[in-house]
Symmetry: C2
Subunit: 240 residues, 2 copies
DNA sequence: CGTGCCGTTGATGCCTATCAAGGACCGTGG
DNA sequence: CCACGGTCCTTGATAGGCATCAACGGCACG
């Protein structure tokens, strides 16, 4: 049994099943309880925004269920989705005063919220949390830099293959027959805006992969990867 | 007089004129001297690489003069430059074991090198340095995310305008007649690989800006911005 | 059972890449 | 000092990949 089980029976963190990499995990049990009591729990339904571009960034959030998109909108309506956030991801721990991007729920979503000032108090007093926060920041930086390569230099097919690999790694699961299943809770338009393409191109490339028997669609929001090597070969590109 | 003047007369950091945001500035004088003695100074000439993709990341570097490009190469030779580093910038403070990108000097370059283990010892013992390192990481993350927008959604003209604005902010200076001068030490090919374009397109867009009297070329590596508002109008895009 | 949103597919066009040639600049060596 | 070669930049012609425009189909919802 993990220390986690020692939380009082009705403490929300007790049943929190976010991935082991969540920043909260850097805290021991009593501290976690303390930390958790600083904030509140938040529910969002599809399309609700957590914050807009330019909003003051005075809270940090830990996503416990659902998927959130982080995006920028240009003056003429063009949109770029900077990241999809999955359970276990943190939002808002950047040092800027205001949010550079908007955050919006893709489906039903729950988050934990803590005032940033509180969060920083904990960071100052618990080196493990500071360390975890720093590791998270550099990990995200590395991801962001990889995405520059994707957006700057890859073709539509490569982008989509890379995207499917990523989602599989972060949210993929096995069917009872061992099938390699990948959920796609976001719309085609969202995928397009994430990859710097249009929804039509995303749709076309998906059918290409389908025709090539690399993937199979179980529904609009659930695909199966039939040929992981094929996906990998397309996606890789990077490094010699 | 700043505390800096208290460094022993021949201490290398004494004459170091990197921008005030360099991480070293988080340390007080004696500590800085101590810190500085851990490493060495490094000189590179045009085209020399500091490290390759995949090299073990066991040193951190502080750029004191010159410009360095950080880039990835895909298996078929496509290249994406992830960042240009200017004096005051730090390299290699990410948490990964190996470098995800290669670093190469664009012209003559000098850097300070410190073993990462040493650096981390200082981070552990000087909270101000930890704080500065964290701020730097999140600042770079924000920049990387902005660049996703550029690479994913902006046109060639917008990318170039944004690029010129950025370089002006980071390395621009005034001529004796007040001219708004921007150095371009990197080649057109480098700019192209930074912006996700080709060198031909970069060249064409530069001549467009020239014909539109938005910029003027003093030489291949030095341009003058005649119409900052024009550049800004093109570059902005972001936010309504 | 209609209505609307989302996804797919097709036809067309545009932006930028690619291919190609000429020109400017620079360092070298005669 | 000038000729020379190489590299980088510029400019033009053409092509291709993806966007745009448009129509249709499926699915969810009222």
């Amino acid at each position: 049994m993990t220390k986690r089980a020692m939380l009082s029976k009705d403490h929300p963190c007790r049943s929190c099943d976010v991935s082991a990499e969540a920043l909260c995990r850097a805290l021991d049990v009593e501290t976690l309880a303390d930390f958790r009591n600083q904030g509140g729990r938040l529910h969002l339904t599809a399309g609700q925004t957590l914050f807009h571009q330019g909003d003051p960034a005075d809270c940090v959030f830990s996503l416990t269920s659902g998927v959130v998109k982080l995006y920028a909108i240009l003056s003429d309506g063009r949109r770029q989705i900077v990241a999809f956030l999955f359970p276990g991801d943190f939002v808002g721990f950047e040092t800027q005063q205001s949010h550079g991007f908007a955050a919006e729920a893709i489906g039903d979503t729950t988050l934990c919220r803590v005032l940033k000032r509180r969060f920083e108090w904990f960071v100052d007093h618990y080196p493990a949390l500071a360390e975890a926060r720093y590791r998270r920041a550099t990990a995200e930086l590395a991801i962001a830099q990889e995405r520059m390569v994707t957006l700057g230099r890859q073709t539509a097919a490569e982008r989509l293959a890379g995207f499917l690999s990523d989602i599989q790694r972060r949210a993929g699961f096995r069917g009872r027959d061992g099938a390699n299943l990948v959920p796609l809770p976001m719309s085609r338009g969202d995928i397009a805006d994430y990859l710097g393409l249009t929804k039509e191109t995303v749709s076309r490339e998906l059918t290409n992969l389908r025709k090539a028997r690399v993937i199979r669609s179980h529904s609009l929001t659930l695909i199966e990867i039939l040929d992981p090597r094929g996906i990998g070969a397309l996606a890789c590109g990077i490094a010699a």
